[in-house]
């Protein structure tokens, strides 16, 4: 979730008064960093994953599962026993939005050698084991993207989905003011509740999330829920949609992220752009969140839900009212896909209207930034700071970057371009953020390794995936649909060896000579993009394989990578299910399911229980993971974790 400072958070009114101050100094802080390290180069590859976890408690007798609101205490213990005791501890733990969540990362970043790909899964296992060891027998650590049953029967006054149970208390002074999501489920660090409240206050109303309901045989049509005690909900909720009204429904979901260190700012910008086109594809491949607030939805990915859950734009900014108090119309939530490419060869594909702070843009140009980087930063800085701590208003701009990070880290986009922290030996980095978290360490490793390998291939072969950014946005919308991985088509570049950036001889020349300029992109299925199709597209996995054949890879690592790519390949072809698909089938086949799109507490219990068994390898799930995906090597730890 980014920056975490202790202290006294300011209210929205106070924060707003300091907004220009934060922006002004944020830019100065960025400039200090930029000037100091813009020529940094020859940084090695370092990378790391971030996995978010939910803490759940099973009540086997009553067949219920609830989210445990003790993430803060568990985190404290994990940090105390881990990084604070031993700086070389193999895991790091961080707080997350939900009080029932924690985030785990490897203790040290991974390096650039191939054998490191073989340590990812081990490390994820260590994390799972370490955190699980602090739980009681009936509790578990789950990597599920969206908890299906958030407030299933929480129509005010019903027992909740949390442990301990809390009634939502929708009052103005609270954080969410939600009918469903109690403030107690938000992490107790003041940053998170302040963020929640300030988003709501800035917006001028509660956030509105409407997810289309999956229309099953017995689902009422139109599907309408009533909220007699809440006018705001009555107005905001849409027929045939699952209505949600709190940041927790979005930011309370779990994700899987990867960050890479590039060798230079130019490489970081190149990778940022290239990977941006991959985001919708990998998101659809990782689809894992079909259920919301106790209902079966018609989407498979969390993205739009989180986007709406932190949408702090006012009615004016959203274009519903003429601009009076606000400066800009803003087309997207703070949590959304990127709005501009950063590399030179991306410039001609920047076809989205970019709202920027013109003064900041001019200032950055005067300071020597190029147009593309200047507009990127000037676009991030159209946003207001959402939280501010009284003690952290006046900073040393040359040696701190909190104000820059304040804006940067609350622009939650598909990709994040990360300047080095001040005075550190860290280089320019890029974060890949669209993935949904998977049930098992094996799957999470597979997705992470796939993405990191893809960056190596892009750099080795100087590939070019760029298409107009508006098409990437269309892909993002399509990618969230139910079963998009098999049912939908995605815009993708036909000839990936032709970019302006590619120094490959002959690249780019061919076009003028032989063929009239046709569209550089076309609609492809994910299967074609991932596995290739003769005469259409070579496929990302065949390219990865040809790369791997040129690298020295030891047999163990190669076997792991083989299994990881097999998973991705089969998920793309439909031979294996996505987590979302698998969850849908699990519910559809549940004896209690009445084909009415409703997930009861007991169904939720069976589902999460099964997920936990799969995650801990207590049962197989060939339709999700493939037959006998587990390799011999881990048989040792397998026995341990099953005890």
């Amino acid at each position: 979730m980014g920056l975490l400072s202790q202290g006294s958070p300011l209210s929205w009114e106070e924060t707003q008064r300091h907004a220009d101050h934060v922006r002004r100094h944020g830019i100065l802080q960025f400039l200090h960093i930029y000037h100091a390290v813009k020529d940094r180069h020859k940084d090695v590859l370092k990378w790391g994953d971030e996995v978010e976890y939910m803490l759940v408690s099973f009540d086997h007798e009553n067949k219920r599962v609830q989210l445990i609101l003790s993430g803060e205490e568990i985190l404290e213990t994990l940090q105390e026993q881990g990084e604070r005791t031993n700086p070389n501890h193999p895991t790091l733990w961080r707080p997350e939005y939900g009080s029932y969540m924690i985030e785990g990362t490897p203790g040290q970043p991974y390096g650039g050698t191939m054998s490191e790909f073989n340590t990812v899964e081990d490390n994820m296992r260590k994390r799972r084991k370490e955190a699980t060891s602090l739980l009681e027998g009936h509790q578990a650590l789950c990597t599920i993207t969206s908890f299906p049953s958030s407030s299933i029967c929480c129509r005010l006054g019903c027992p909740g989905f949390t442990l301990p149970e809390f009634k939502p208390n929708p009052v103005e002074g609270g954080a969410s003011k939600s009918l469903f999501f109690p403030d107690e489920a938000i992490n107790k660090h003041p940053r998170f509740s302040t963020l929640t409240r300030n988003i709501r206050h800035r917006r001028g109303e509660k956030v509105v999330i409407n997810v289309p309901i999956f229309k099953d045989k017995n689902t009422p049509s139109p599907f309408i829920e009533t909220f007699p005690e809440d006018d705001e909900a009555v107005k905001a909720s849409k027929p045939d949609h699952i209505y949600m009204d709190a940041m927790g429904f979005g930011m309370g979901n779990c994700c899987l992220q990867v960050t890479f260190q590039a060798c230079s700012i130019a490489e970081a910008r190149y990778l940022y752009d290239q990977l941006a086109t991959i985001c919708p594809i990998v998101m659809a491949l990782s689809a894992a969140s079909p259920f919301y607030r106790g209902h079966v939805s018609d989407i498979d990915c969390r993205w739009g839900v989180i986007s709406a859950s932190v949408d702090d734009r006012t009615r004016e900014e959203r274009g519903l009212e003429p601009l009076k108090k606000n400066k800009y119309r803003i087309s997207k939530s703070r949590y959304d896909s990127i709005d501009s490419y950063l590399s030179e060869c991306g410039e001609k594909y920047n076809d989205i209207d970019l709202t920027i702070d013109k003064e900041i843009y001019e200032q950055l140009l005067r300071e020597g930034l190029d147009h593309l980087l200047a507009q990127h930063v000037a676009h991030l800085f159209i946003r207001d700071p959402l939280t501010l701590f009284e003690e952290k208003i006046h900073l040393d701009d040359a040696n701190e970057s909190d104000h820059f990070e304040n804006i940067q880290s609350t622009n939650w986009q598909t990709m994040r371009f990360k300047p080095p922290p001040p005075n550190s030996d860290i280089g320019w980095r890029v974060e890949f953020r669209p993935m949904e978290v998977q049930l098992t360490d094996f799957e999470n490793s597979a997705y992470v390794v796939f993405v990191v390998l893809l960056t190596r291939v892009i750099l080795s072969y100087k590939l070019d995936f760029l298409i107009p950014l508006s098409k990437v946005d269309e892909n993002m919308k399509v990618a969230q649909k139910r079963d998009a991985v098999l049912q939908e088509m995605f815009y993708f570049r036909k000839d990936i060896c032709k970019g302006g950036n590619a120094v490959v001889d002959g690249c780019g020349k061919a076009q003028s000579s032989t063929e009239p300029a046709t569209e550089e992109y076309t609609l492809m299925s994910i299967n074609t993009i991932i596995n290739g199709k003769e005469g259409v597209f070579p496929g990302l996995i065949p390219i990865l394989n040809s790369y791997l054949e040129n690298m020295e890879v030891d047999v163990d690592t190669r076997c792991s990578i083989l299994n990881y790519l097999k998973l991705i390949k089969k998920r793309a072809s439909g031979e294996l299910m996505t987590v979302a698909r698998w969850m849908r089938e699990f519910i559809a086949n549940h004896p209690d399911y009445k084909q009415d799109s409703v997930i009861t507490d007991e169904m939720n219990y069976s589902l999460i229980f099964k997920c936990n068994q799969i995650a801990n390898e207590l049962c197989e799930c060939p339709e999700l993971l493939g037959p006998a995906f587990r390799k011999v090597k881990y048989s040792g730890s397998k026995t341990e974790s099953s005890n």
Binding site: K42, V44, L45, G111, G112, T113, M114, C263, R456, V457, L459, S460, Y461, K462, L463, K494, D495, I496, C497, A502, V504, D505, G506, C507, K509, A510, S513, T514, E515, G532, K533, E534, G535, V536, F537, P538, G539, I541, P542, I543, N545, S546, Y547, E549, N550, M551, E552, V553, D554, V555, D556, R558, C559, L562, N563, K566, K569, K631
Partner: protein
């Protein structure tokens, strides 16, 4: 599954431009892209790259007009194709004529030379030179040999023709790329040596010397020797390896190579070599197909003696004498291809160590004219 992993390096070059029009222009072939792919496998002949008229429908149909050439009938639509077209008047005239001139000069040179050094340069610099997408290493290699010959023969200077050198240096000049000495430390330069013919012991040294000179380095970081070809039914034994290994040991001692390794040895073979060798193997490659089902004795032995077990995806015979000669014949028609015998083939790769990036990859090959 394994078949899937046999994709050669140029899997990443989209064929779209070349193949798309062709599919439309050849409906009689059933139109399925799968179909054209299998044809492509049957006929490895590759179109020369030199500028040519666009391969429109007429070009696509050209092979049929030639008649009596069933193999060419099956040629995928990427162009009118093999250099043989030169001898057929029905072939597309301008490019065929150009090829004729090129290959005549090349033919004349090859008729007089004794040794042929062929090097592809950095295949990552080939760009559009690579149109086809071979699915195996053997196909990739053959494609590389032909393209290199075509490139070279299209750029033969009149001076060279007057000289008639003994040793022909056949390269894709624009793809040649030496390692910047300032960056040498960041790179790992590895090579795998494939002995092709019956051989003089100098092959190993020649190959390593040439690799060093092509890449502009004093030393290779690692050289792996593929198991030398042996008669069918005979098991590879230490004696087969010894002459090459001794040569490699000398090269290690003279600091031309840092570490040497083997390929496809089982535990017994590896153990024999290990016990006999002065410079011990530091790695042994195993086929990709077995990386998840490793024989425990080999794994245990390698672990005990600190031998790295690496993976490869090369066929048993990467380049045969016959396929080399076919490649030669197709690229430079009219020469006595059967006189030319490949001695060795070396594949190198240059990796940026700390970043996992391939900087360069290529093949070097030496062939001799029989009886010369």
């Amino acid at each position: 599954m394994v078949g899937h992993f046999t994709q050669g390096i140029c899997g990443y070059y989209a064929l779209f431009k070349e193949t798309a029009p062709s599919v439309g222009s050849q409906p009689s072939r059933g139109g399925s892209s799968r179909g054209s792919r299998s044809h492509q496998r049957v006929l490895p002949g590759s179109p020369p790259r030199r500028p040519r008229p666009p391969s429109g429908p007429s070009a696509g149909r050209a092979p049929a007009a030639r008649g009596g050439q069933p193999r060419e009938l099956g040629f995928p639509a990427s162009g009118p194709a093999s250099c043989r077209a030169a001898s057929f008047p029905a072939g597309p005239a301008p490019s065929a004529a150009a090829m004729g001139t090129d290959s005549r000069a090349a033919g004349a040179l090859l008729a007089r030379a004794r040794t042929l050094h062929l090097q592809t340069g950095n295949l990552l610099n080939w760009g559009r030179l690579r149109k086809k997408c071979p699915s195996t290493h053997s196909e990739e290699l053959r494609d590389c040999i032909q393209k290199t010959l075509n490139e070279w023969s299209s750029q033969i200077s009149p001076d060279l023709v007057r000289e008639f050198p003994d040793v022909l240096e056949c390269t894709v000049s624009h793809a040649v790329e030496k390692i910047n000495p300032d960056e040498r430390e960041e790179m790992k330069v590895s090579a795998k040596l494939f002995i092709v013919g019956s051989n003089s012991s100098s092959s190993t040294r020649n190959a390593v010397d040439m690799a060093c000179s092509v890449l502009g380095v004093a030393q290779l970081d690692s050289v792996i020797i593929a198991s030398p070809p042996i008669e069918d039914g005979v098991n590879l034994s230490l004696e087969h390896l010894q002459p090459y290994w001794e040569e490699l040991e000398n090269l290690v001692q003279s600091k031309k190579i840092v570490a040497i390794g083997t390929s496809d040895l089982d535990k017994t073979q590896l153990e024999q070599l290990y016990q006999w060798a002065q410079v011990k193997p530091n790695s042994n490659q195993v086929n990709l197909a077995s990386c998840c089902v490793m024989p425990p004795d080999l794994t245990a032995f390698a672990k005990q003696f600190d031998i790295q077990l690496l993976t490869h995806n090369d066929p048993k015979e990467l380049l045969s004498e016959a396929s080399f000669q076919e490649a030669l014949q197709e690229s430079i028609p009219g020469i006595q291809a059967h006189e030319w015998v490949p001695l060795w083939l070396l594949r190198y790769s240059v990796i940026v160590k700390s970043r996992g990036i391939i900087k360069s990859k290529g093949y070097i090959l030496q062939a001799k004219r029989r009886g010369s």
